[in-house]
C-alpha cells in the first residue's frame, strides 16, 4: 500500500463512497456501513469468491458480481440489497443446507454457527429443494480435533489459513463439484498427518461445526477468534 494510490469514487446504494484502487466492493461497502453477507470471506485471508453470498448488482452489467473479489471502479453504481439479491442469497443458503447433513439440533456448533446465523438473518424458514443426505465420513483420528464432512460448506477458510498463515498446507480440497471434500495431506487420516502442526487455527476459522475441538457436546463449540485479528495486520505487512 503506497500513499500515492489513486482514490476512486463510487456509489453504493445511492451513497457516495470513496476507496483506494486496490480495495474491493466488499471492503468499501463494509467501511461505509453496508452489511453484505459473506461466508467464505475472512479478514486477513485471500478472497476466493467461493460462497457467492456477497453478490451485488453493478449498473451496466446484467451479471451479479461477487463483492469480495471485485475491485472498485471509478463511477461504479453498486446495489447491495434488492429483492432479486435477497432471493438469490436465500436460494444459495438453501442449496448449502441441502448439500450436506446440516442438522443443527445435534451439532456441536449449534448457536455459534455462521451458516445457521445467515439462514436465520435471511429468513430461511423452509428449504424448498430436497436434502441430498450424502453419506460422509467423520475423522476423529486427531488427538485434539474432529473433522466432520457433514457440516462442511467448502468455504476453504481452513485451506487458506493453513497455507497462508501457518504455511503447513495440510488442508486441501479434493474432487470437484458435488464430490468436493476437504482433505488432510494426501487424503490421509488427520491424526496421521505429517504436515499438521496441530495449531488449531483451521478449527477456529471454520464457520460451521465441520472442524471442532474434541470432547465438545451439542452447542458447546464456541470458536475463539480473539487472536486472529493479528493475522490481518500480518497479512497487510506482507503485501
Amino acid at each position: 500500500m503506497t500513499s500515492t494510490e489513486t482514490v476512486i469514487t463510487l456509489k453504493i446504494d445511492g451513497k457516495d463512497c470513496a476507496g483506494r484502487a486496490s480495495e474491493t466492493i466488499l471492503d468499501v461497502a463494509r467501511e461505509n456501513g453496508f452489511p453484505i453477507p459473506t461466508l467464505c470471506h475472512y479478514a486477513g485471508l485471500h478472497n476466493i469468491g467461493a460462497c457467492r453470498l456477497c453478490i451485488v448488482e453493478v449498473k451496466g452489467t446484467t451479471k451479479l458480481l461477487p463483492a469480495c473479489v471485485t475491485r472498485i471502479g471509478e463511477g461504479m453504481d453498486v446495489t447491495t440489497r434488492s429483492q432479486r439479491l435477497d432471493q438469490h442469497r436465500r436460494t444459495i443458503v438453501e442449496l448449502l443446507l441441502t448439500e450436506r447433513n446440516h442438522v443443527c439440533s445435534v451439532c456441536v456448533s449449534n448457536g455459534h454457527c455462521e451458516l445457521q446465523a445467515l439462514a436465520m438473518a435471511m429468513g430461511v424458514t423452509h428449504v424448498h429443494l430436497p436434502y441430498r443426505f450424502p453419506a460422509l465420513k467423520v475423522d476423529a483420528s486427531h488427538p485434539r480435533f474432529v473433522q466432520d464432512d457433514n457440516r462442511c460448506v467448502l468455504c476453504a477458510r481452513c485451506v487458506r489459513i493453513c497455507h497462508e498463515i501457518e504455511a503447513a498446507h495440510t488442508w486441501d480440497i479434493s474432487g470437484r463439484g458435488i464430490e468436493a471434500r476437504t482433505i488432510t495431506d494426501f487424503d490421509d487420516a488427520w491424526g496421521d498427518s505429517q504436515t499438521c502442526t496441530s495449531c488449531g487455527k483451521c478449527v477456529h476459522v471454520c464457520p460451521t461445526g465441520a472442524l471442532t475441538e474434541k470432547g465438545r457436546s451439542v452447542a458447546e463449540m464456541v470458536k475463539r477468534r480473539q487472536a486472529l485479528p493479528y493475522l490481518k495486520t500480518f497479512q497487510e505487512q506482507r503485501s
Partner: protein, 88 residues
C-alpha cells in the same frame, strides 16, 4: 450443488415423480445458477434447461401432470406400473 440438484429434479420428472412446484423451482434454481456461478459451467449449464422450459413447456407439464412422455424416450414408460394399474 446447483447442477446436482438440477439433475436430481430432472431425473425425478423423467421418472414420472415430478411435482407441480418443480417447474417454478427449476426456473428459480436455473436463474440463480446462471447469474451467480463462478465458472462457465455453472453459468451455462442451466441454458438447455431454461430453453427447453421455454419452448417445450407442454412436454414438461405432460411429464408432471399426465405422467407420460410425449416423445416416448423417458423411463416413465419402462417403469413398473403404479399400484392402481397393477390391481386393475
Amino acid at each position: 450443488v446447483g447442477t446436482a440438484q438440477m439433475h436430481d429434479m430432472l431425473a425425478r420428472i423423467t421418472r414420472g415423480d415430478g411435482l407441480a412446484e418443480d417447474m417454478s423451482l427449476l426456473q428459480d434454481l436455473a436463474d440463480v445458477m446462471k447469474s451467480t456461478s463462478l465458472c462457465g459451467l455453472g453459468q451455462s449449464s442451466p441454458n438447455p434447461v431454461l430453453t427447453t422450459m421455454r419452448y417445450f413447456k407442454d412436454e414438461y407439464l405432460a411429464h408432471i401432470h399426465d405422467k407420460r412422455c410425449p416423445a416416448g424416450s423417458c423411463p416413465i414408460h419402462t417403469s413398473k406400473p403404479s399400484l392402481e394399474e397393477a390391481v386393475r
